[in-house]
Symmetry: C2
Subunit: 458 residues, 2 copies
């Protein structure tokens, strides 16, 4: 009966918030492979990265030995606006499922960006401001990262240029307006504002754009305009570092009640949320201090871990960015129109890829319709309308809890609820109308794009 003492929501005090990020790479024996210069095939140096990223972020990107990196006070103050985020005991979901499992979720959606992206956006904006830059550029597809970055830049008085994939710009006007409310300039991509944009428009006049094209435009603007740098919301080591605040808070909250999770589950697109959530737990695992089952959940339509290849590849479809060694479907892979925009990335964080390769974590893939079934059940019993991305983790958590129901095991499951679905109601509408479809790429499709992987770093 001590069990009932655990509240629905475990809130930490502001004093309990982490004062340093945890750099998982410091505890990895096999470090993630370095980024390569696509021209030379050699590891990129700080000097080569500095025209693109601001200096402190380059240092964080390359540092794989320092375990704890202090969170500057300015960032900690901003975090206090929306952190500590609650760790919620899913009593109602447990009851609905009739499972003996104990389910917890770390909810990162209670901020206006609607997701965990703000954790890294504010850090990247802070370092840009500290370096005396005028502004930053980025790309956004679904818009969560662009929104988070707009909020962060507004706070520090930085200019923010967001290249938004044209089809999203037109179909998701509300996301665009949130960014504009935060003072960002939002440009539909491809645009006439860049050389690469003009070139693409000349070649494909009717194109509705792509993430790869938007990245190319954002990088061009950052490198051509003095006082600007480019920022990215996932995949990179620096982003996983900043997101470790999720896992550190989760661990502190669990420790407060003496709870040891058996299974930790996160959705995985580029890896920012998953890498952040699991960081301190994976650290214990790497140091041999504890063991956990750690599960990455990806969409069956874009299964980089479960069906991809561990190899060097471009991070963008435009093939202008550094090469990263990762599980990838090939940068030319075009995922189906899955509604979880944040998970439609062909590759995966190098750090997580190495850990998966070394057997420290599992991966599973789930189909879209079953994800929305889980989302609907969760919304109804837990009261939160989840983002499609987050709902992949919900699906996997429910499946694990149902296994416990069969076996009678009282496992403790923790999953990351990365965000809310207020801007994803077109997807919910399709589901409500019974018009949602599932698409799983064929082996041939994946083989075709994997065959185009660059021949470097082998």
């Amino acid at each position: 009966m001590a069990e009932t003492k655990i509240p629905y929501k475990i809130y930490l005090s502001e004093d309990d918030m982490p004062k340093a990020w945890y750099n998982l790479r410091a505890d990895m024996k096999n470090k993630p492979a370095p980024l390569l210069n696509p021209g030379t095939g050699k590891p990129l140096t700080a000097e080569e990265l500095s025209p693109i990223f601001c200096e402190e972020l380059v240092a964080q990107e390359l540092d794989d030995t320092t375990a704890y990196i202090e969170i500057p006070e300015e960032i900690r103050n901003f975090y206090k606006m929306f952190r500590p985020s609650p760790l919620v005991r899913a009593y109602c979901l447990e009851e609905k499922l009739g499972t003996p499992a104990k389910i917890y979720y770390k909810f990162e959606g209670n901020n206006t960006s609607g997701s965990h992206k703000l954790n890294s956006a504010i850090a990247q904006a802070y370092y840009a401001k500290k370096q005396g830059l005028k502004g930053v550029t980025t790309e956004t597809g679904a818009g969560q990262w662009g929104t988070a970055l707009s909020m962060a830049c507004s706070y520090f008085g930085l200019d923010c240029k967001v290249y938004m994939v044209k089809v999203s710009y037109e179909q998701k006007p509300f996301r665009r307006e949130v960014m504009r409310t935060y003072g960002a300039s939002v440009v539909p991509s491809p645009s006439e504002t860049t050389e690469v944009g003009k070139k693409i428009l000349a070649e494909f006049p009717g194109t509705t754009g792509s993430l790869g094209c938007a990245i190319s435009e954002a990088v061009e603007v950052a490198t051509k305009n003095p006082g600007y740098r480019y920022v990215l919301g996932s995949v990179l080591n620096q982003v996983l570092l900043h997101q470790s605040v999720i896992g550190l808070e989760t661990k502190t909250a669990l420790d407060k009640y003496g709870i040891k999770p058996d299974i930790i589950i996160g959705c995985a697109g580029g890896g920012s949320n998953l890498g952040g959530l699991i960081a301190p737990f994976m650290g214990e695992k790497l140091r041999g201090e504890a063991d956990y089952r750690i599960i990455a959940v990806e969409p069956a339509s874009c299964p980089s871990f479960t069906r991809g290849t561990f190899a060097y590849d471009f991070c963008d479809t435009g093939m202008i960015c550094p090469l990263a060694k990762m599980y990838t479907l090939g940068s030319s892979f075009i995922p189906s129109a899955n509604h979880a925009g944040g998970l439609r990335f062909h590759g995966m964080s190098s750090t997580l890829s190495q850990l998966y390769h070394d057997g420290y974590m599992e991966a599973t893939s789930v189909e879209q319709t079953s994800v929305f079934e889980a989302a609907e059940m969760f919304a109804r019993v837990e009261g939160i309308l989840p983002a499609p991305e987050s709902s992949h983790a919900i699906r996997a958590a429910i499946d694990e809890a149902l296994k416990c129901k069969e076996t009678g095991e009282e496992k403790t499951i923790v999953f990351g609820l990365t965000g809310t679905g207020y801007f994803d109601l077109v997807a919910y509408q399709k589901f409500n109308d019974g018009e949602m479809s599932d698409y799983i790429p064929t082996d041939e499709e994946i083989a075709a794009s994997v065959a185009k992987l660059p021949k470097v770093g082998e």
Copy 2:
């Protein structure tokens, strides 16, 4: 420097949550005037109200002597999903304004309904379930109340029929989809599903509906179908009672840090949020234990307190509902297309109207463009995108804080931040594009609708 000990967000523990609602009317010497039967002009009895509202809610509606009414455990458990809500110290807003004032806001938007409406929706659904009813009907305009009720009904397994004003149904498909995700049936009003709907459609084939018409349809369905009752999200005494949870938590949080507010501010449409926020403070004032400035903020386009008449009037434009004594612009008053849908009501809660009439509170009106200026500033510094309704309170709080800047007074201001603006981005877009307009009704317009007030209860 003791000041710095106050965290950004004051969270109560679940044990600190109120176990009883506070019934403000018990401490009022001049009780709010009773609801009248429009046919007889006499006070409505419990028997007359029971075919419309469920029994325990009728009892709460009529009870003006019991100060504390226990919150059933089932409701308290549901509250734990999204309560206690944070009382936030607006450090960043204070800094932006350069004011010596200390600003706090009680944030009710961190739940999927996006507003405080869930506090009463769950109570009303609970009593309906307890009475063994099959379901409830309601109307919704902007959709916040309909969303909250859908969530509450889903939790208790009640059928929920929402009549949504046709123009909103078509223009706000996302709100509709949230309700559907929670299992509600959402019908565009006027519809062919009711006699009154058919009649209106025959008379005005192209009509896009009105709240008055939607109320009529919802009431018809509730009274004609065994096992159904009608529920309402504002104005009524029972709703203010449930919303007292806002004020009780606010007071507990302030008391925890020994803070005594000087000014308490809330936006006012039908009065649900304002009545809930101020309840315990007004109680102290009524009992002569403390004094506070209490300010209701309404849109200049729909100024029931500041330019209305204190008289009996219909609560609906269809004139089928009971008569309530209140500050009203007349039930035939049609407010301009202000974007704060929740504040476009011609009247005001009888309880608040009586208190205002007796001089216990002030009222002020603000114009739409200045409201969105305040909303934008608030979003940028405090990180929360506010609902247009809530932004009326923000505007007034900023204005009071700026007065403190002039006088150097360190006043403590508390305001209610009722909800988020994720479904109001059409309004933000108009503001961002510089296309927002202000409209203030002329004296003649108000006089014309006031002249049509019913001649009863005088």
